[in-house]
Amino acid sequence: MARLIAGIGASHVPAIGAAVDNGRTGVGIWKPVFEGYEPARRHLAEQEPDVAIVVYNDHGSAISLDIVPTFAIGVAASYPIADEGGGPRRIPVVHGDPELSWHLADSLVADEFDITACQKLPADHGLTVPLSILWGTPQQWPVRVVPLAVNVIHDPVPTAQRCFRLGQAIRRAIDAYEPDVKVVIVGTGGMSHQLQGERAGHINSEFDKMFLEQIRVDPVALTRISTREYAGLAGSEGVELIMWLIMRGALTEAVELVHEDYHAPVSMSGAGIVVLRDA
């Protein structure tokens, strides 16, 4: 039977991907940031997951404003790297896991969640930057990927509570999956940042640190924060943090902390990483 062996929260700031692509991970501000990723990489190298469910938001790469799904699961065998306006990142193609993808879609819809199944879903930086963070620069990604794209950029956005409950439903789906695969779930985005309007440049490290603690010890408290409040506290783009709650909902009520780290600013964002597992 499938086992969920870790839940990870990680920022997907494009500049992090650029640092990897340009070989600058040991330079200047990047050095401490990437040193902070090392324990997470080591943990995954030891644990050897087979598949990663990566929860992220597309940023106008694969999903246009013509049709905006709230929760979209990639069901393809592979996902080409998206051209986001400046050519695709030169990283290995992302291989999917259609069997697990369809199982998740079936299970979640039966569990009364509304899921859009995507046969075609080019991989945006929201998905690929966390892969670079967690697995570096391999010739091939050592995991299959099930992309779970969440709309957090276009009103109406799902609630934090809905996200947490979706995570719980994902756990039920994983527990019912017969093949003996080791699964990790990665919630991506954030942390606090605002890229537009008068408050462009907003970062709230106090909020981010509170979030990092609460996601471990009291995620339900984080589900009580409305998306409007997330925008007020963590910046309009900081609303992405609700996707970490999908990850957290999939873990047991009590969790163990494997690793966490935080740096701000990273480009225009607070950048955090947390690795959790069932207690």
Binding site: L65, E84, G85, Q196, R199, A200, G201, I203, A221, M268
Partner: protein, 132 residues
């Protein structure tokens, strides 16, 4: 609509109390209605051939996507702040900016009306705080 939830003494609740809730127009109608033609045009720039066409004949390109006169004017002048006010979402506007070699932080400075040097200093110092 006050939007202030009851306090339950948790760290999350204390955070809510400490920071003013900025009225964030940006969360509403972000790309939803007014911005749709502008954001759709930006999205089309994911295709390299489209990027070339836009640079070759921007006027026809904008008209094809049905941008309003004001949106066309803002794009023509590269008035990022105005584009944002007219419904342009950062993730879509950045695709025009990339063609000009403008980075996300530079865009952030421009849409917030902050001089670039001041913006860089602010970010190096940990970002814009809750009170601006």
């Amino acid at each position: 609509m006050d939007g202030t939830p009851p306090s339950d003494g948790t760290p999350a609740a204390r955070q809510r109390q400490q920071n003013p809730l900025h009225d964030n127009r940006l969360l509403h109608g972000r790309g939803a209605r007014t911005g749709y033609p502008l954001n759709s045009m930006c999205m089309s720039l994911n295709d390299p051939a489209a990027r070339e066409e836009f640079q070759r004949d921007p006027e026809s390109y904008m008209q094809r996507f049905g941008l309003t006169e004001r949106q066309q004017d803002a794009v023509r002048r590269r008035d990022w702040r105005r584009m944002s006010e007219l419904g342009g979402n950062i993730y879509f506007l950045i695709k025009i900016a990339m063609l000009d070699g403008v980075t996300v932080p530079e865009l952030g400075a421009m849409v917030s009306g902050t001089p670039m040097e001041e913006f860089k200093a602010m970010m190096a110092d940990g970002g814009r705080t809750a009170d601006g």
